[in-house]
Each structure stands twice: as C-alpha cells, then as structure tokens.
Amino acid sequence: MDKLETMWDVCLRKNIKRRSFLKSCAALTSIMGLNMDMLSKVVAAAEKNPLPVVIWLHGHECTGCDESFLRSATPLTSDLVLNSIALEYSHALSAAAGEPFEEHLHQTMQQYAGKYILAVEGAVATAENGIYCMTGGKPFVSVLKEVAKNAAVIIEYGACATSGGIQAAKPNPTGSVSVREIVGNSKPIVKVPGCPPIPEVMTGVVMHYALFGKLPPLDNEGRPKQFYGNRIHDTCYRRPFFDTGMFAENFDDAGSKAGWCLYKLGCRGPVTYNSCGNLRWWNGLSYPIQSGHGCIGCSNDHFWDEDPFYKRLPEYGPILGDVDKIGAAAVGLTTAGVALHGAMSVVQKKKRQAAEEKSDGKKVE
C-alpha cells in the first residue's frame, strides 16, 4: 500500500469499461451538486488523484448514520467504499476486530499522517473523563484527539457529531458534545448534520474531497452549501397547500389523507435546511413529509430540545405556553390597569382643581 490507486486504476484492475467509468463520473458530478460543465474536471480528478484514505470513527451514537450511508444509491455505497475511497478503518463496516484492527488504525495514521480524511459519527462523551463512550478500551474522547491530530480534514456526520445528538438533550448526563468542541477550529471541519443525514449527501461530501482535494463550499455554519442551501419549507411539494391555506389539523383527518400541509401538526420545514425536498431519500423514493409526517428538523442544532415534534413552535413558547394567550392576558391586564389609572387620574385632577380654586379664592380675598 505504498502508492494509492486512483479511481481509474481501480477500474482497470477490475476490468471495468471506460464507458462505465465515465458514467460513474457523470453520476458523481450531478450528485455532488456540480454543474455538468465540471464533468471533465471530475474525470481528470478520478484519473489522476489517488483514492483518499478515510478513517471513520464511531462515537456516542446509534450507528443510524451508517444505516443511512449504506443505502446510498448514487454513488452506491459499495462503489464508494470499495472503489472510490480507501476506507482503512470503520467500526461498523470492517470484518477485522480486536488488537489487529487497532494496530491497523495506528499504522494508517502513521503512514498517511496529515493526508487522511477523518469521518466522525457520534458525539463525544466528556462527563467523568469520557467513560460513557469507550472504544478499544479507551475513552472515545482520547481516541478522537489522537486521530484528529494528523487528519487533513474532518467530516462530522450526523447530528451527534455536529451538535451532540439526542444524548446531549437536556440535562445531557453524559456531557456529550460535538466533535468541533473537542478538536477546535485547528482543522477544516465539514458539518453534515441530520439524524441521519441523507445518504447521497454523506457520500457526496466525501467524494467532493476525494476528487478535488478540497472541501466543498461551506455556508456560515460550516455545512456544504449545495446540500444545505434550501429550506425544507421552500422546496416542499406540499407548499401550494400551505400557500392556499389548506392544513391537516389531525393525523387522522381528511386533510392529512389528502396530503395537505402539515404546518399545524408541527412540521419544522420552515426552520430546517436540508436536501430532503430535492434529493429525497432512498434514491428519490420518499421523505418524511411525503410519507405524511411533518419534518422534525433533524438537521438543526439541538432539535431534540425543541419538542414536542407534533406541536407548531411547541404551542408557541417552550416555558410559558401559548404566547397568544399570554399576550392577550397581558393586554387585558394592561387595559384594566390603564383604566384604573385613568379613573384615579380624574380623581386627582378634581382634587387639584378644588385646591387651586381654594387658593385662588384666598388670593382674591
């Protein structure tokens, strides 16, 4: 493993036709959200650039992101893992285990120091020195620090890695935090939020780096623009129902059955940025809203603390309750107070005038 193969080398070795290789490149170009003008660059990169070494760490999580990743259709996960990247270490996808596996991790880190991509799924448990999440007999937090030190770039996959995940929900007993909070800003970090992220988004991000050797353009939160540049609400196929004012009021009513807007059932589409509306899931099969369930905003930081998911803006205020009821009550109280004050002011004025008349009378005398 001294010299890494390129994608084209892999194709040659496996007797894959040039035509198939070019088709894969075209598919990759579109899935990375690039203009088709870029195809020639993608082909050139796939011919020349060696496959990137990827170390895939799993922290405090459910491996649901892996489940999602495995279902990537374009590119196929198998293509990606076997032909497009050199995945050297991954808990969930490796046959090897135990000491030899850990040994391999250290070899990879030494051999490709400063060159490998570190993909992290899962939060970092920090409470009690990180004992809530152990891997290979060590707290995950120390493993992460060690591997991150020589990484070229870090990809945070999933809500756990980007903002702590469900286990970071209040009161966060395990002290779970995002990868960025441990690693800091010393390394370039891509946030790929979602619970889980869309599989094509996961593969698209790593392929972008694999082919061009640099991160995709990021927004101000550090997310790849091409995948997180749209609100769910603005790309939703149910948007016309919202605009017309046709809402499902209950999950068992005719509106829900007819596929009307789920705004009143707590859909987080208006505050969520993701590609569900355009890419959809499982090769464009469906996505939560299409299946009749409102968006829960799983690509938002701390979405788990913005529950319950079936209430619109959790009934208009997390602590105090319905802001409209509070507002109306406050308006009522203020009006009453003002009326009382007005009445007292009248009395005061009467008194003042009486006193003035008295003194005026005295002056005349």
Binding site: D243, T244, G245, Y316, P318, D324, V331, V338, G342, E357
Partner: protein, 255 residues
C-alpha cells in the same frame, strides 16, 4: 371651575415627516400584527375545502405577502423619520440620558404618574414618553432584524442572509427567532395601549394638544416648558415671536 383667559403659546415641534412616519407606523403595525397572528395560527377552511374554490382570504400566501409588504413599507418609512430628525430639532426625541437634568425630570414625571404628585412641570416632549420610545424603537429593531433574518434565509448564501442571518446565531436557532419575533410583537401591543392611554390622559390632564400634535405638529402650552431649550436656541427663543410668528416659534393666542 373658573375659566381663565390666559395667553397660550404655540410651539412647533414635529415635522410633517415625523407625523407621516408615525401614522405609517400605526397602519403598518396594525397589519403586521394581525397578519402575524394568522401566520402563526393560520385559519383553515376545514377539510371539505377544494383547492380550486379556495377562499382567497384564507390564502396564507396572500397573508404572508401583506405581512411582507407592510414590513417593507414600515422599514422604508424610516427614511422620513431620519430626514425629519436631520432638519427639525423637535423630531430629535432621543432622551438626553447623559444629562442629570433629564433624569430629574424623569423622576418628577414618574412621581406624577404614580399619583404621588398632583402635577408635573410643563414639558414640550414628556421625558418618560421619550424614554418609552427608546423601548419601542429597540423592539421595532429586534422585529426588523429577526423578521428579515427569517425572510431572507430563503437563500442562506445570499447577501441579505449574510446581513441579517447573524441574528439567528444570537438567539440560538431559527425556531427561537420565530418565537422571539412573536413575543416582541405582543410587547409592542402593550406599548401601544400605554402610549394611546398616556396621550389621551395628557390631553385630558394638561390640555396642551397632545393628540392633535401628531396631526398638526404643534403643542399649545400655557406655561414656559422646561425643555424649550431643546427645540430652539435660548437666545433666539426670546425674540423669535417678533420675527417669525408662524414658524417654529411662539405665537400668542387667546384661548
């Protein structure tokens, strides 16, 4: 009650720009508030509704557009406020918080409103009211910034989102922005009640043309107001009536 025949003086305070801005604000806030409530809790035609025969009044698209148009007009109207501020001293309502005198008058007026003093000294522009406008403008600016942050995040990579998007960072999430926008809207309503009441009350208690001043721009005072120096130079105020009786100065009338 003895009817006094006292000379009263007319003071020109508010430029037409401020007055137009004020009433634009009134109209815009009314629209913004009602449509805002409907956006949070949309009315619904019920399940028997058909898209083709949808009621235009239930159209959230229309309601949102009214909200946005009102918001844009409101923000644009600030140009009038700023112009008035530049050309007319009476429009410069920001309280002189750097002066001890201001705080003394604040206390005095507050004592009166707490019904602890029978009356307060005459002011052209009530110090407590001016303080409340600082509150109003702060709330309005929060609404503008949170509102545009939500509105412009349609394109998170555009210039508008860069200009206003940081508001979301301050309050944590876009989810919170929606709530804060809503809470502040209600707070503005509380201000409106207090403001309308205080204006009516001042008219009733002091008879200085408080309410009509927002139409005519002038107030009519019996006594020399404490803060007269703020709208005109002390020197010229004494001689103003001789030179220009109808403008910016004082005009003697019999009431």
């Amino acid at each position: 009650m003895i009817m006094h025949e006292e000379p009263r003086k007319v003071y020109y305070l508010f430029s037409p720009f401020l007055r137009i801005f004020h009433w634009t604000m009134v109209i815009c806030i009314s629209f913004l508030f009602t449509t805002g409530l409907l956006i949070t809790k949309p009315a619904s035609g019920g399940v028997s509704m058909e898209p083709t025969f949808g009621n235009i009044l239930l159209s959230l698209d229309l309601i949102r557009n009214i909200h946005f148009i009102a918001a844009f007009i409101f923000v644009a109207a600030f140009i009038l406020r700023i112009y008035g501020f530049v050309i007319n001293k009476g429009d410069r309502l920001f309280p002189r918080v750097w002066k001890a005198e201001f705080w003394q008058s604040m206390i005095e007026v507050s004592m009166h409103y707490m019904l602890l003093k029978p009356s307060h000294r005459p002011y052209l522009r009530n110090p407590l009211a001016r303080m409340s406008y600082v509150g109003l403008y702060s709330m309005v600016f929060i609404e503008i910034f949170t509102g545009f942050a939500m509105y412009l995040m349609v394109n998170p990579n555009g210039f508008g989102a860069k200009f206003f998007g940081w508001t979301i960072g301050i309050f944590g999430s876009e989810f919170m922005i929606h709530l804060i926008h809503h809470y502040i809207a209600w707070a503005i309503m509380l201000f409106v009640i207090g403001h309308v009441y205080m204006a009516i009350r001042a008219d009733f208690m002091e008879r200085e043309g408080e309410i009509s001043s927002m139409f005519s721009g002038v107030k009519i005072l019996e006594h020399e107001p404490v803060d007269v120096g703020e709208i005109m130079d002390k020197e010229s105020s004494d001689t103003f009536s001789d030179r220009k009786p109808l403008h910016a100065g004082q005009q003697e009338t019999k009431m």
